[in-house]
């Protein structure tokens, strides 16, 4: 009797392990519209309203707890911001004169002065869920296909680029943030710096890495990184050009390396997202499914 019970327990355990491995490998080989993905979307759409209600109800408690943590960080941040303010004042003066020149040149070229997301329909969404690990930097938002949100639509905050839509159900969508391991954004260093691909460093939401930049290209701390939005006709970046991503925090060059690594602080507060804007119904970008 006891042996039979032990055998049964072992069989269940082996069955569960095998089921987990089968799920893992099947999902990798399956297409986006496959049965496992559809099942996932069905579960996600059931959890969506629950997450939304809980997020709203528990926001005051969440803010109170985070306030304690933020108070500790605020001291150090204060002195950093003071020195940054000095730098920005100088940059503002330069930017204002550049803006005047820019306006005149645009007028000369006959171009309309448009925003970065001109041609897109912005959909404002509330963040209702978040992945608990550093391995998946994703958030769930309360707008889905019924609001016109599609896979690969760019997602921005008031500060800058946040990510892009990775999956959509009718009432919710999952945003892969720029700090997710699967994220790679083609980016350009302003004003006339090189282009590269900004990728995250897993485990650190405050750092992006612009790698393989020729070491002869001078890049300084404080320079701004924006989306490059390149296109070669057949394939293109999912993001339109000119969306601010972050600013250069550090550059490092190894002795034997022909390239330099540029560290970038994202503008968007990735850990504290509450609302985001999805740029929907934009111009078709070749090679970008959605």
């Amino acid at each position: 009797m006891y042996r039979k019970q032990v055998r049964r327990r072992r069989a269940i355990l082996v069955l569960l392990v095998v089921a987990a491995l089968v799920l893992l490998s099947t999902q990798f080989s399956e297409s986006e519209g496959g049965p496992l993905h559809s099942m996932q979307r069905a579960v996600a759409s059931v959890f969506g309203p629950l997450e939304e209600g809980t997020t709203r109800a528990l926001k005051p408690a969440r803010d109170l707890i985070n306030w304690v943590d933020e108070t500790f960080n605020a001291r150090g941040e204060n002195s950093d911001l003071r020195s940054e303010l000095q730098e920005l004042r100088t940059q503002l003066a330069e930017a204002q004169s550049a803006e005047g020149e820019n306006r005149q040149l645009r007028e000369l070229l006959g171009l309309d002065r448009q925003g970065t997301l001109a041609g897109y329909t912005p959909v404002t969404a509330r963040v209702i869920g978040r992945s608990p690990t550093v391995w998946y930097s994703t958030v769930t938002i309360d707008k889905g296909s019924s609001a016109g949100v599609k896979v690969n639509d760019p997602v921005v905050t008031g500060d800058g680029l946040a990510g892009r839509i990775a999956d959509v159900t009718r009432g919710t969508a999952v945003v892969t943030l720029i700090t997710d391991d699967r994220s790679a954004v083609s980016a350009r260093v302003l004003p006339d710096g090189p282009e590269g691909v900004a990728e995250p460093e897993v485990g650190d939401p405050s750092d992006l890495l612009l790698d393989f930049i020729d070491r002869s290209q001078p890049i300084h701390r404080g320079q701004i990184l924006v989306t490059a939005g390149w296109s070669n006709g057949a394939i293109s970046s999912a993001f339109p050009p000119g969306i601010p991503i972050g600013k250069v925090s550090d550059t490092s060059v190894g002795d034997q390396q022909p390239y330099q690594r540029v560290h970038v602080n994202p503008y968007a507060d990735i850990r504290g997202l509450d609302f985001v804007q999805v740029a929907t119904e934009g111009p078709r970008r070749p090679g970008v499914p959605g």
Binding site: R9, I12, L13, L16, V17, A19, A20, L21, V22, L23, L24, S25, T26, Q27, F28, L36, M39, Q40, R41, V43, A44, F47, L50, E51, E52, T54, T55, L58, A61, R62, I65, N66, D69, I128, G129, R130, S131, P132, T133, V134, W135, Y136, T138, T140, A166, D167, V174, D181, E201, V202, G203, D204, R271, G272
Partner: protein
């Protein structure tokens, strides 16, 4: 643990509530730059209260729901949580949970192991990253936070499943089937002895 349909329903409710709270509340909190993860400690608690099989099944189901709700790669969380739940249950089956410090310590150790296992699977699946100090710090702090969070959460789960716990039946004023049987046998033996001795 005596598992009835009502208890199964309660366990399912605990799993769903924990997942919703994790996604919508705990994942927004930040302590020392790390997000607390209550899912592994809930699975460990269920394993400690119900044994290896309940721990493993709950771990698998929780992982499946979590990966589905977040549209993550299916199977990764299931595999890791299944292991955590089973190990917690095996501990309970082999040793007495006599000390109130055992659940938090075990939850801390198994949450750390689960986070490390999760990282190892991600690396095997081809995530391009170095095993940096940041990742190690995240794993370590998640374990520490699990120790602290188990102190209030384990008694809550225990309370929710109290009618099913054989150890707790006496505290409820009820007697376990074994205790009832033993007492009945004791009374019968007493009657037999009194009859043999001629005492009425």
């Amino acid at each position: 643990m005596i598992v009835t349909w009502r208890i199964r329903l309660r366990i399912a409710l605990i799993v769903v509530v924990t997942i919703v709270l994790q996604i919508s509340f705990f994942s927004y909190l930040s302590f020392f730059g790390t997000t607390p993860n209550v899912v592994p400690l809930m699975v460990v608690s269920l394993g400690l209260l119900g044994g290896g099989m309940i721990g493993a099944v709950c771990g698998f189901a929780t992982g499946l729901l979590l990966d589905s709700a977040l549209l993550q790669t299916l199977g990764v969380s299931s595999l890791v949580l299944l292991g955590a739940g089973y190990l917690a249950g095996r501990y309970r089956e082999g040793a007495e949970v006599s000390n109130s410090l055992i659940p938090p310590i075990l939850a801390g150790v198994l949450t750390t192991a689960a986070a490390a296992g999760f990282a190892a699977i991600q690396l095997m699946l081809g995530v391009q990253t170095t095993v940096s100090l940041l990742v190690l710090r995240e794993i370590f702090i998640q374990g520490l936070l699990a120790v602290i969070l188990t102190i209030p959460i384990y008694p809550l789960i225990r309370r929710a499943l109290r009618p099913a716990l054989v150890d707790d039946l006496s505290a409820l004023g009820a007697r376990s089937p074994i205790a009832r049987g033993a007492s009945r046998a004791g009374r019968a033996r007493g009657r037999r002895i009194r009859r043999v001795a001629g005492v009425s």
